[in-house]
């Protein structure tokens, strides 16, 4: 199912110069802020939760998911080079799964890993907060990658739609409308973090853990299946 050539083409496209810089910016900011907070305030569990939950999980992870998820296939579809990938006897599901592995791998490296580092810098993993948010970020990375990868096969405006989802739905709408929280990758991953962290860490999710796991699975499997279907019947637009 995993195709090494597809993977190589994908990560080389993803980690091209400009995109790599873009991917580095937010994690670098997170770690710089973490260092500054620790230097000025000392270790504080509540500040750790606020920074990792409020900034890292709510904003950074979805943004990196948008860049990596759409970037794993969107540019290829845009410039037509996806033809070389698809004019081959390679199963479309295998193309999508490989790209999902690469996109979520990149998202984990650029979001979950920095979360782990920042968590240790902030409070030395007291009450398992760093580990809890790292796991949440990793799971969210997979879900965002799958969703945005699918979006890139469906629409040329995947980046814009992804940004709207990441910034407006997850960050703003989710906090105002309680129903929206049920359909939020952030809340699903928080349910995991809640389970892992100590009771005093004050990590809470609006979604119960079993529901969160089911919804995560549905999102990942469903969007990959849809993306594979879409790729099977990808149509070339004529230039004239």
């Amino acid at each position: 199912m995993f195709h090494p050539t597809v993977a190589r083409l994908t990560y080389r496209a993803l980690l091209g110069r400009r995109r790599a810089l873009l991917l580095c910016a937010l994690p670098a900011l997170l770690i710089v802020v973490a260092c500054a907070v620790r230097a000025m305030n000392g270790a504080d569990d509540q500040v750790t939760t606020q920074l990792l939950g409020g900034f890292a999980l709510a904003t950074m992870v979805p943004l990196i998911g948008v860049i990596a998820g759409t970037g794993a296939i969107g540019p290829e579809i845009d410039d037509g080079s996806v033809v070389y990938l698809l004019s081959k006897p390679v199963r479309r599901t295998s193309v999508i799964l490989t790209k999902l592995v690469v996109a979520s791998g990149v998202t984990v490296v650029f979001s979950a890993v920095p979360v782990f580092v920042a968590g240790f810098v902030l409070n030395g993993n007291s009450q398992q907060i760093a580990v809890a948010y790292t796991v949440a970020a990793a799971v969210a990375s997979l879900a965002y990658s799958a969703l945005f990868l699918m979006l890139a096969t469906l629409s040329r405006h995947a980046v814009v739609i992804g940004l709207i989802y990441a910034l407006i739905w997850e960050a703003l709408f989710g906090s105002l409308v309680s129903g929206a929280k049920m359909l939020s990758v952030q809340q699903w991953s928080l349910a995991l973090a809640e389970k892992i962290a100590g009771a005093g860490a004050e990590i809470t999710s609006d979604v119960a853990l079993p529901a969160a796991i089911v919804l995560l699975l549905v999102a990942v499997v469903g969007s990959s299946a849809l993306a594979g279907q879409k790729l099977r019947s990808l149509t070339l637009a004529g230039e004239d």
């Binding site: 090494p4 050539t5 083409l9 990938l85 006897p89 019947s233 070339l236």
Partner: protein, 329 residues
């Protein structure tokens, strides 16, 4: 040996019909798909290469000899009286690409790779047993070894075209589809590619290329399919089509020092079918049936009668009018 069967294929986009009820069979040898820009050539090639579903009809690929029990086509043959075309539908059938090599018209092609990396990746995607050897051979065939370690982003248009060609050849396909392959090539590259395609046709491969330039097609293709405005306008040997094109009536607009005298002198010759004196334009509209004879006749007649020619302009020399004549023929 492979054959592509295009059976009553139409394709529309919303209200626009791009390809209108075309039936043709593309067999071994070089076939030229000729037509003006926007005639539907690309749409047809996209359907032949499995990147577009026909709105109606079917495109099937019949692979000769070693066909591993390809299932009979199920869709596309609604009525009972016609037997469905042989082979397997190309649309949504990845395995077809073991037999098809495609050279798309668009330029996007992983510019961050070197030429060698690109062709090698194509060989690997085909799951060839020795992708390195296959890539080396394909690059040698298009004579791109000298630049194979440069990034594709540094290539000229002709070089890109050759690397695209190498990527399509890497698995030795029995069918090669090329969408406007000569665009942007200099004359030398054009000749090299023609030579290569001719060779592939002689080897018994099914080679189809599209072009809007008649001279290109007649130099290379033994068989021509002409498409105009989505319709199949003509099909057959290039000599036949060439004759249709040169023998068609030519129209000229002529202004001279004495239009009526010139008209009288011209109509005496059999190469002229009709002359109209256009009062508004103050000119003659001449319809010539024998192109070569008329072009020699006109200046001679003018000199003999002491008439000065001010304007001689063909009024329907655009490719479109040539093609629309073919449609009517």
């Amino acid at each position: 040996m492979s054959t592509l069967h295009i059976d009553r294929v139409s394709r529309w986009f919303g209200n626009v019909v791009a390809v209108n009820d075309i039936t043709m069979t593309i067999g071994p040898g070089v076939t030229g798909l000729l037509g003006p820009n926007g005639a539907g050539k690309s749409t047809l090639i996209h359907m032949m290469s499995g990147f577009l579903a026909p709105s109606s009809g079917s495109v099937t690929l019949e692979t000769g000899g070693t066909a591993s029990g390809a299932p009979a086509p199920v869709d596309g043959a609604g009525d009972g009286e016609r037997t469905p075309p042989p082979g397997t539908p190309v649309w949504r059938h990845e395995e077809s690409y073991r037999h098809i090599g495609l050279v798309p018209e668009r330029e996007g092609m992983y510019d961050f790779l070197t030429g060698h990396e690109f062709v090698l990746a194509n060989a690997e995607l085909h799951q060839l047993s020795d992708p390195r050897a296959a890539a080396a051979e394909a690059l040698a065939t298009v004579e791109m070894e000298h630049a194979q370690d440069r990034r594709i982003s540094t290539y000229s248009k002709g070089m890109r075209q050759r690397v695209k060609m190498a990527s399509a050849l890497v698995h030795q396909p029995s069918v090669l589809l090329l969408d406007e392959p000569f665009n942007g090539m200099d004359p030398r590259q054009r000749m090299q590619l023609m030579e290569l395609l001719r060779r592939m046709g002689d080897e018994g491969r099914t080679v189809l290329f599209s072009s809007h330039i008649l001279e290109e097609v007649e130099q290379l293709a033994s068989h021509i399919e002409v498409i105009v405005a989505g319709r199949h306008a003509a099909s057959g040997d290039f000599r036949k089509i060439r004759r249709l094109m040169t023998d068609r009536p030519h129209r000229y607009l002529v202004r001279s020092s004495d239009d009526r005298k010139l008209a009288g002198a011209l109509i005496a010759d059999a190469s002229t079918a009709g002359i109209e004196v256009d009062q508004q334009e103050d000119a003659l509209r001449i319809q010539a049936v024998d192109f070569t004879r008329f072009t020699a006749l006109l200046p001679r007649v003018a000199r003999e009668h002491g008439i000065r020619l001010y304007t001689v302009s063909p009024s329907d020399e655009s490719l479109e009018s040539v093609f629309s004549y073919l449609v009517a023929a």
